[in-house]
Amino acid sequence: MRITGWDIKGFGRLKQYKAVPGPGFNIIYAPNESGKSTLQAFIRAMLYGLKGGRIGKDGTLPPIKRYKPWNGENYAGVLEYTLASGESFRVGRNFEKGTTNIYDSGANPIHQRFTQDKSTGPRFAEEHLGLDEATFERSVFLGQMQSAVDEAGRRALIEKIANLNTTGSEDQSLSRAIGALEEALLERVGTGRSSTRPLDKVNMRIKALEEQYQELAKISERYLDSFRELHEKKKLLAQWLDEKTKKEALASRLHVKRLAMIKKEMEDLSQGLDEKERALEAVHEALKKAEIYGRLTPEGMTQAALIVHDMNRIKEELAQAGAALEELTAEKTGLEASLDSEESFIRRTGDIEEALKQAASQSGPGASGKRGMPIPALVAGCLTLAVLGLWLMLKHPLLPVAAMLALAATLFLWLRTGAGKAASPSISPQTQALNKALSQAGFMGLDQYMEYKEAWQKERVAVEAAGKKLTEARNRLKELEAAKTALEDSWRGLTASWPHARMEEGEAFIQRWREGMDNYHQLSASKKAILDGMAHLTDKRRVLVREAAGLLGKPGLTYEECCEALDGLDGLALDETPWEETVTEDELKDLEQRINSLNLEMAALTARLEQAPREGELSRILEELEGLREKRKKLERTGAALNLAKEILLETAKQVRRDYIPALNEEMSFFIGQLTSGKYTRASTNDALQVLLSSPETEALVPVERLSTGTIDQVYLAMRLAAVRLLEKRGEPLPLFLDEPFSQYDEARIINGFKMLKALADERQIFFFTCRERELQLAQKVMGPQLVRIELPD
C-alpha cells in the first residue's frame, strides 16, 4: 500500500491541508505541536474510522470528539492510496456526519462491498491491508524510543523487545499474562496450596456442613431407630395385652375350679382341726390330772431319791446311836454306883495323905520312889506292850498269851514295890500318925490304903472314860438328829408344791413319782404334737384362704369371710376332670410384669422421641450445601478455565517461539546488521525468554540488558521493522510511520539508520516524522534525491 495523497478538510488542528507523498522515503520535518501526530491520526482515521462513545472516567475524549476541528471547519477529509496490485482507491469521510465513501480507480463507489461497522462504517482497510486497526497501529506506527529518558524507559523497552521475542508483539507480555492468570487463580479461586481463598472457604464450609449433616443424620437415624423400636414395642404390647386377656379369661375359669377345690380342702382341714381339737381336750384333761408331775423335774426326783436314801441311813444310825447311849449310860451309872464319892474319898483319905506328907518330909528323898513306877514294873510294861505290838504285826496265836503274862508280871512287880516300902517298920511319930489315920479311915495298913486309893483312882478313871464315851454318843446322836432335820428341810423345800409328798413312803414314792412324770411328759408330747398338727392345718388353711381371697379378688379376707364368700358363689362345684390349658398366677404375674416393663420402656422411648431432630434443620443444611456445591462447581470451572488458559497460552507461546520468533529474528538480523554496521548480526531468545544478540567480533551472545541504551533502541527498531515484514508476509507491503525514531541516536547511528531506511524504502513507503533539523540534513545526505519532504501547514 502506498498513500498517494490526502486532502484534510478539517481534522484536529489541521485544515484545508493537501499533500502528495512520495512512494518511498518521506520526511515530515516540523516543530513539536505542529500537527505531526494529528497527521498520523488522520491517516489511521481515514482507513479505520473514528469510534464514538462517552468521555472516559479519566476525562479522555472519545476519538470522534478528540479530533473535531478547532475552528468549526468541515470535519472531513480524503485519502488516496494504491495497493501493490495496482488498484487505487479514494476514501472520503465526513466524521461529522459519519459518512464514508470509497471509490475505485474508476471513480465507482464501492463502500457497499465491505462489511459495515455501526460506528466506523465500511471495514475496507481490514480487507485491503489484512489488518485490524489495532494491529495496524501496533505494527506500522513507531513512536519515539524512550530508553534513554530514564531507567524505567529502558526497562520498558527491554520488556517490549522481550515481548516481541516471546509473543511476537511488544505489548503482549507472556509473563504478565501468565502472572495475571495465576493471580486470578489464587485470589479469586484458590489453589491446592492456598487456605483462605474463595474455593478454600467454600470447601471448608462444605466440609463443616457435611460433618454437621452427618451428625444430624446420625441423630435422625437414632431417632428413627427409637421410633422403630417404639413401633415394634407397640406391636408387642398389643400382642401381650391380647395374651393377657386370654390368660385372664382362662385364669378366671381356672379360678372357679380352684376355688371349688379350695373349698373342699378347707372343709377337710376344718374336719381335721376338729378332730385335733377333741384329742387336745382329752390330753388337756389327762394333763390336768397329772399336773402335779408337771411341776417336778428329773433333777428334783433324783434329789428326792437321794434324800430318801440318806434319811434311811440316818435313821439306822440314830437307832444304833440311841442303843449305844443307853448302854453307856448304864455302864457309867454302874461304875458310879460302885465308886465312893469324891467327898467321901477325900474325907477318908485326907488325914492319911496329910500324915503321908509329913512322913515323907521325914524320910527324905527316898520317898520319891513312891511317886513313880518301879523300874522292874516299867520293864514288864514295856515288854507287854512289845508283845502286843508284835501280835498286832504277826498275828501269832501265842503272842496274846505272852502279852497277858507280861501284863500280870508288870502288875505284880508294881504292886510289890509299893507294898514293900509301905510295910517297912520304921516307926516314927509320923508313922504313928499315919497308922492312926489309916486306922481311923478303916484301913488296915498303908497297903490297904494304897490299894483302896489305887482302886478308887482306877475306877474314877473308868467313870470318867464312860462319861466321855457317853458324851460322844450323845454328840453323835445330836449330829444325826441335825442331819435328819436338814434332810427333812430339803424334802420340804423340794416338795413344797406337792403337799401330798410322803418321804416316809421312800422308794415306792419315788417309783410312783417317776411313773407319773413319764406319763405327764408323754401327755405333753401328745399335746404338742396335736398343737403342731393344728398349727399346720391352720397354716394350710390360711394359705388356702389367702389363695381364695386372691382368686376372689378380695385380699385380706378372714377365714370366716372366705367361707362365707365361697358359700355364696354359685356353681362352685368341684370338677375333678383334668384341664388341658393351664395358666398359673406366676405366669400372669410374669406377663403383667413384662407388660409393665414394656410400658416403662415405651415411656422412655417416647421421652427420647421428644428429643427429635429440629424441624427443617437437615433441609437447611442441604440447601446451603447445594448452594455451596454450585458455587464450588462454578469456582472449579473458573479455576479449570484459568488453568486451561494458562496451559494453552504457554503452549501457543511455545509455538510462537518455535514458528514465529526464528523468522522474526531472521528478519531482524538484516535490520540490526544495517543499524550497527555489522557489530551485531543476529538475535535469539533462550529458554529463559532472554533476548541475546550475537556479535561476530567477539563471537559472544550478549543479553540485551547489557547493551548500551542506543543499541537497545536499535534492537527495538530492528525488531519492529522485522515484525512488520512478517506481518505483511505474502500480503500487502505496509507503509511505515516513524515518529522521532532516532531521537536518542548519535550521528553515526542516525546515518546507519537512514541507510537502513533507504534500503527499506525500496520496498515500502516510509513517513519519517522529526523536529530535528540535523536529522533532516542527515536524511537528505543519505537519501539524496529519493527523499520527499512533506511540509505541514503553519
Binding site: 481490514e126 489484512g130 489488518l131 485490524d132 494491529t135 516471546t166 509473543t167 511476537g168 508483539s169 503482549q172 507480555s173 507472556l174 504478565r176 499474562a177 502472572g179 495475571a180 492468570l181 493471580e183 486470578a184 479469586r188 479461586v189 474463595p198 443424620a217 437415624e221 428413627l224 431407630d225 421410633f227 422403630r228 413401633h231 422421641l609 427429635a612 431432630p613 424441624e615 427443617g616 437437615l618 433441609s619 437447611r620 442441604l622 440447601e623 447445594e626 448452594g627 454450585e630 462454578k634 469456582l635 470451572r637 473458573t638 479449570a640 478455565a641 484459568l642 486451561l644 488458559a645 494458562k646 494453552i648 497460552l649 501457543t652 507461546a653 509455538q655 510462537v656 514465529y660 512478517l726
Partner: protein, 390 residues
C-alpha cells in the same frame, strides 16, 4: 359395566430441600407449596369421587421427613374416602427405618412393598402391582416376578424408575417401554421423572411429573393425571387427563447482552423479560450471556429488580468482548492463542455432532470459552477483572 376413575400422581417430594436462595423464608414457602399441590390432588380425588389414588414413589424425602410431617400426611390421607396405593421411590425407599415401615398408616392407605407388592380391589375388579424401591439405588427390576394380568380385571403396574433411558451407572430401576408392554397390563403408573411424560391421552404409560416443580430444570406446567377407565364390550378404554397443581412456575431465561452498550440497555432488556410475569407466582432466573465490555454486577442487578419477587436471580455469565475475528489474524501469541482455542472448539463441535457425552462436551466447551476470555484479558490488560465469585 361400571366405569372407573382414578388419580395418578408421583414425585411429590414432601420436605424437599430447595437449593435456590429466595427472599425471606423461601425454602419454607416452597415446602408449603408442595403440600398445597398435594392437597390439591387429594381434593381432586374427593371432588371427582375417584375410586382410588395411585402415588408412584417419592411421596416424601425419607431423610428429611419428621414425625410432624407424617402426622400431617396421615391426617390428609385419611381424609380421602378412597383407597390410596403407594410405592416407595428412591427418595423414600422401603429401608430399615422407612416411615412406610414405622408409621401406622390410615386404613385406606396401602403401601406396596417387595414383601407385599400387590392388592386387589375385588368390588371394582382392579389388580394393582407395585415395583418400588427398597434401597436408595436399585438396578434393573426382575420383571419375571410380576404376575400375569388377571382376566376381566383392570391391571395396573406401578413402577418407580427410568423408562427408555440409558443411564449407565445410574441405578434407578431402568426399564424399557417394550419390556413393560410385554407384561400386558392395562395401565403403567410411572414415577421418577419430574417432567410430565405421556405420548397422548390414551397412552397407558404415564409419568405425571412432580405436582410442584422443584427447581429451574423443572419449568413448565406441573400437575397430576385423572384417568377414566371405560369398560366396553371391546375391552377397556382408558382416557388420561392432566390437571394442574403447581403453585409456582420456574422460568429459566437466557438473555444475550452482546451489542448492548450501556447498563440502561441491559435494564430495559431485563424489564422486557419480566414483563407479564407474576412476582409471587413465577420464579425467575435470568442468565446474562454473550460478550460485552461492560462489567455487569449480578448482585446489584438482582437487587435492582428482586424487591417484590419471591425469587428473582440474575446471573452474569457474559464474557469479555473481543474482536475474535481480527484476533485470529494476529501473528503474535494473542492470535495463536485464539487460533489454538478455536481449533479445540471446532474439534469439540465435531465431537458433539458425533453425540458423545453431550453434558461433558458442553462443559468442556464452556470451559474453553471461559479460558479464551481469561487468556485474552490477561494478554491485553495484564490482569483479569470484572468478575467476582464471592
Amino acid at each position: 359395566m361400571k366405569s372407573l376413575r382414578f388419580i395418578h400422581c408421583a414425585d411429590i417430594h414432601l420436605e424437599a430441600p430447595f437449593r435456590e436462595q429466595g427472599t425471606g423464608s423461601y425454602a419454607e414457602t416452597r415446602r408449603m407449596d408442595i403440600r398445597k399441590a398435594f392437597l390439591h390432588i387429594l381434593k381432586t380425588a374427593r371432588d371427582q369421587k375417584a375410586d382410588f389414588l395411585l402415588i408412584s414413589g417419592d411421596l416424601f424425602e425419607q431423610d428429611l421427613t419428621t414425625k410432624r410431617t407424617m402426622e400431617w400426611l396421615s391426617m390428609v390421607l385419611s381424609d380421602v374416602d378412597a383407597p390410596i396405593f403407594i410405592i416407595p421411590g428412591n427418595h423414600d425407599p422401603f429401608v430399615k427405618n422407612s416411615w412406610y415401615a414405622l408409621w401406622d398408616w390410615p386404613p385406606n392407605v396401602h403401601i406396596l412393598t417387595p414383601q407385599n407388592p400387590q392388592y386387589i380391589l375385588e368390588e371394582q375388579r382392579v389388580f394393582i402391582y407395585g415395583l418400588g424401591f427398597s434401597a436408595y439405588k436399585q438396578g434393573k427390576p426382575d420383571l419375571s416376578l410380576v404376575p400375569p394380568p388377571r382376566k376381566d380385571y383392570l391391571n395396573i403396574l406401578m413402577v418407580h424408575g427410568t423408562l427408555d433411558m440409558d443411564f449407565s451407572g445410574e441405578a434407578y430401576q431402568p426399564v424399557t417401554s417394550r419390556e413393560l408392554a410385554a407384561l400386558n397390563y392395562d395401565y403403567y403408573a410411572l414415577g421418577h421423572f419430574h417432567q410430565p411424560r405421556a405420548e397422548d391421552s390414551t397412552t397407558s404409560m404415564i409419568y405425571p411429573g412432580s405436582p410442584e416443580p422443584l427447581g429451574f430444570d423443572e419449568s413448565g406446567i406441573h400437575g397430576a393425571y385423572g384417568v377414566t377407565v371405560l369398560r366396553e364390550p371391546s375391552g377397556l378404554r382408558l382416557k388420561a387427563e392432566r390437571f394442574e397443581t403447581a403453585q409456582r412456575v420456574y422460568h429459566p431465561v437466557s438473555l444475550d447482552v452482546t451489542g448492548l452498550k450501556s447498563l440502561e440497555e441491559v435494564k430495559m432488556k431485563l424489564l422486557g423479560v419480566l414483563e407479564g410475569l407474576n412476582p409471587q407466582r413465577d420464579l425467575v432466573q435470568i442468565t446474562l450471556k454473550g460478550r460485552t465490555a461492560m462489567d455487569l454486577d449480578e448482585k446489584l442487578l438482582t437487587a435492582l429488580f428482586s424487591e417484590d419477587w419471591l425469587f428473582l436471580q440474575i446471573r452474569n455469565e457474559t464474557q469479555k468482548a473481543f474482536d475474535l475475528e481480527a484476533l485470529t489474524r494476529d501473528p503474535a501469541v494473542k492470535g495463536s492463542f485464539v487460533r489454538a482455542i478455536n481449533k479445540r472448539l471446532e474439534a469439540l463441535d465435531e465431537a458433539m455432532k458425533m453425540e458423545g457425552d453431550p453434558k461433558a462436551l458442553a462443559e468442556e466447551k464452556e470451559r474453553l470459552e471461559l479460558a479464551l476470555s481469561f487468556g485474552l484479558e490477561a494478554l491485553c490488560n495484564g490482569k483479569i477483572e470484572g468478575w467476582s465469585e464471592e
